[in-house]
């Protein structure tokens, strides 16, 4: 890598600007397969976003309707995306509250992903809001709708993003060589973590609580007073599965940054994550069984929606849970990775069920919601843009690579 690093002295503003300018240059090859695919989509997405703001949410921008007011921007970008970002609160709990140093090598990448996810999904919310120019209203008191679950979710979202920024900020300070500031920020970590876990509990469950008043619109196999609890528990293994998935890719893409020891311990980390997932999924499965029995819905199992329910619960919760168990017992990393992918598919299906699949399941196919190509492209653009930012940061700041000497000495 060329240019000054932050370990060398930056004595003046001029030095600082030279440093920043060198950091802004692209690192690594420009024409990778990923870049060639993602760059045009990001550009197209940007254009489509302007079109959406100018035209409104109606067709051809989205296929939202009076029957289906929420689609993939809420169902996938926000609800699924937030569930997948749950790795941050789970892992910071394990590393900072419980003190399990085993996961320390991946904690910064996880927190960074959590922070970026929330920033970009706030963007998705902004795009989904029909009157987006008013989006600051719940924040500035025009008005404080304290009666609303969404008010709570919005505020916890915002505060959590700030907490994640605080948790990640020592890495930024290390990048910039700000020693004193780094020390202060590091002392805030435990507080930010505790705050973050509390906030996460409430907004993960809160996303489920959003649909509580849609009682008869959601198929009885999915509707229960315990939706918020189910959302919270599933966010544990959703987040960790994403950590497994994203970590697998990151470790290959950024492998030259990762030192010997980290590479060696990574297997232990994967097995550990698999174990936590297996336990959380067993708990979740039993909660779903309890809800099923309590609702007395056995006759509904022998219907198309019943089979869909079994696919989600047996095929994409119970089965990946068992694969996680096998992967943990045999230390089979491939099994753990396969289980993570199946689990993630199950989470996507679960969240989308509450938004437009099990939601108004009785509406005939011709009147149902299917995303438009524009909704899909904008969704992909948001995801790719987040990956670009993640990559930019990981290539410059000590996320996967070691902290500078002076920081490690503390």
């Amino acid at each position: 890598m060329n240019g000054k690093t932050a370990t060398e002295e930056i004595n003046s503003f001029k030095d600082f600007m030279i440093f920043i300018r060198s950091e802004l240059k692209p690192k690594g090859r420009i024409f990778t397969i990923f870049n060639v695919i993602s760059a045009p989509i990001i550009l197209l997405g940007a254009i489509l976003i302007v079109y959406r703001l100018a035209k409104g949410l109606g067709w051809p921008v989205t296929n939202l309707s009076q029957d289906f007011p929420w689609g993939i921007w809420i169902g996938f970008d926000v609800m699924t995306g937030v569930a997948f970002a749950g790795g941050a609160y789970v892992l910071t709990f394990v590393v900072y509250v419980l003190g399990a140093k085993k996961y320390h090598p991946i904690i910064r990448a996880t927190v960074l992903n959590g922070f970026l996810a929330y920033v970009f999904y706030t963007g998705a919310i902004f795009l989904d809001c029909g009157r987006w120019w008013n989006i600051v209203n719940p924040m500035i008191g025009n008005e404080f709708g304290v009666n609303s679950v969404l008010f709570l979710v919005a505020w916890h979202f915002l505060l959590y993003t700030l907490a994640e920024l605080v948790e990640f900020s020592p890495a930024i300070a290390e990048w910039l060589g700000w020693k004193k500031i780094r020390k202060i920020l590091a002392s805030l970590t435990l507080g930010a973590v505790i705050f973050g876990i509390t906030l996460s509990t409430l907004h993960q469950s809160g996303l489920g609580a959003l649909v509580m008043m849609a009682k008869w619109k959601i198929h009885p196999l999915w509707y229960t007073e315990f939706i918020p609890v189910l959302f919270f528990i599933s966010s544990i293994f959703a987040g960790l599965s994403m950590v497994i998935f994203e970590g697998t890719i990151s470790h290959r893409v950024f492998s030259q940054q990762i030192d010997e020891e980290h590479h060696r311990t990574y297997d232990d980390i994967l097995v550990g994550l698999g174990k936590i997932c297996a336990v959380a999924m067993v708990g979740y499965f039993f909660l779903k069984v309890l809800v099923f029995i309590h609702g007395k819905h056995w006759s509904l199992i022998n219907t198309p929606m019943g089979y869909w329910y079994l696919l989600e619960l047996i095929g994409l919760v119970l089965i990946p849970c068992l694969i996680f168990v096998q992967g943990v017992k045999d230390r089979n990393l491939l099994s753990i990775r396969v289980a993570a992918i199946l689990t993630m598919a199950g989470i996507i299906i679960n969240r989308l069920n509450y938004v437009f699949i099990a939601y108004k399941w009785y509406i005939p196919m011709s009147e149902r919601y299917f995303p438009t190509w524009i909704e899909i492209v904008i969704t992909l653009a948001i995801v790719f843009a987040e990956i670009w930012v993640f990559r930019w940061i990981v290539n410059r700041m000590p996320v996967l690579k070691e902290s500078p000497e002076w920081a490690r000495e503390e």
Partner: protein, 284 residues
């Protein structure tokens, strides 16, 4: 209908009229309603409705909405919903007692789901009962997800979209006027007044004509009670009403969660801090 007829219609004696405000009422409930202590409502007697759709026309005229073509009966062939340009709609149902016409619109629930859902209080429940939408709305559409009657409609095709639904003629009410639909109805199928009085009226109609009505006032207790209440000659399920809404006000489906929030906000930090300190002590 002028102010004098309006006051007569709701059974209020004519006394002095204060400017803007209304009157010296002679029926205590109406006084309470006008004093903002009780709700107003509309009684819809489906045994009287002839399907002329003048209510649809009057509503559109009163709110600058596109005028419907009410000369054409063929619209009754398919069930219509309200839309972002049509706040109320009349549907025709074939029943055991022949054709029945039913006017549909926002029910102005006592405890509205949309009001509970709204994170900026754009949806407001007025103390006179009207549920109205305001422009500080952010367009999140949670009100649409939450409404048990699927009433809020969204202007998807506009870059400056509004939520559209019946507002019980809140603007006309400020001027002392009846809701446009009530005023336009030629057969008094619609009656505006204090909700309590309307419930009494509905029950007395059932009592006096027990064979003409199903012995139930829809909206009396459904979802905790609504301001629009209905009478019917046939079971309500036959004329497009859901029988499974229950009597629990819909906001109460969220209060289990919402009331737990402050508890979690207090307990979680203490538990997490405690675990952290306890484990650290073990390591020392």
């Amino acid at each position: 209908m002028d102010r004098r007829e309006f006051l007569k219609t709701i059974g209020i004696g004519i006394g002095g009229v204060a400017c803007g405000d209304i009157l010296i009422p002679s029926i205590v409930n109406a006084q309470n309603a006008f004093g903002g202590n009780e709700f107003f409502g509309v009684l819809v007697d489906t045994t009287r409705c002839i399907g002329c759709m003048r209510c649809e026309m009057a509503c559109a005229e009163a709110h600058n909405l596109p005028l419907p073509d009410i000369s054409n009966d063929s619209v009754f062939e398919k069930k219509r919903n309200t839309t972002e340009t049509r706040w109320t709609v009349v549907n025709r149902y074939e029943t055991e007692k022949g054709k029945i016409f039913v006017k549909q619109q926002c029910m102005h629930c006592n405890q509205p789901a949309c009001v509970a859902a709204c994170l900026v209080k754009a949806m407001k429940k007025r103390k006179e009962a009207h549920v109205t939408w305001d422009t500080n709305c952010i367009g999140c559409r949670l009100c649409m997800v939450s409404c048990p009657f699927d009433m809020p409609k969204f202007e998807y095709n506009s870059p400056l979209p509004k939520i559209q639904k019946c507002n019980l003629c809140w603007d006309r009410f400020q001027e002392g006027k009846l809701p446009a639909c009530v005023e336009a109805c030629p057969v008094e199928a619609l009656k505006f007044g204090a909700r309590r009085d309307l419930l009494d009226e509905a029950n007395s109609r059932i009592f006096q004509n027990p064979h003409n009505y199903v012995h139930h006032v829809y909206g009396g207790h459904e979802v905790g009670g609504t301001s629009y209440i209905y009478l019917s000659a046939v079971p309500f399920e036959q004329i497009g009403f859901r029988g499974d809404l229950g009597t629990t006000p819909y906001p109460e489906f969220t209060t289990g969660f919402l009331h737990a929030v402050p508890f979690v906000d207090v307990l979680w930090p203490l538990i997490l801090l405690g675990i952290n300190r306890a484990i650290r002590r073990e390591e020392d």
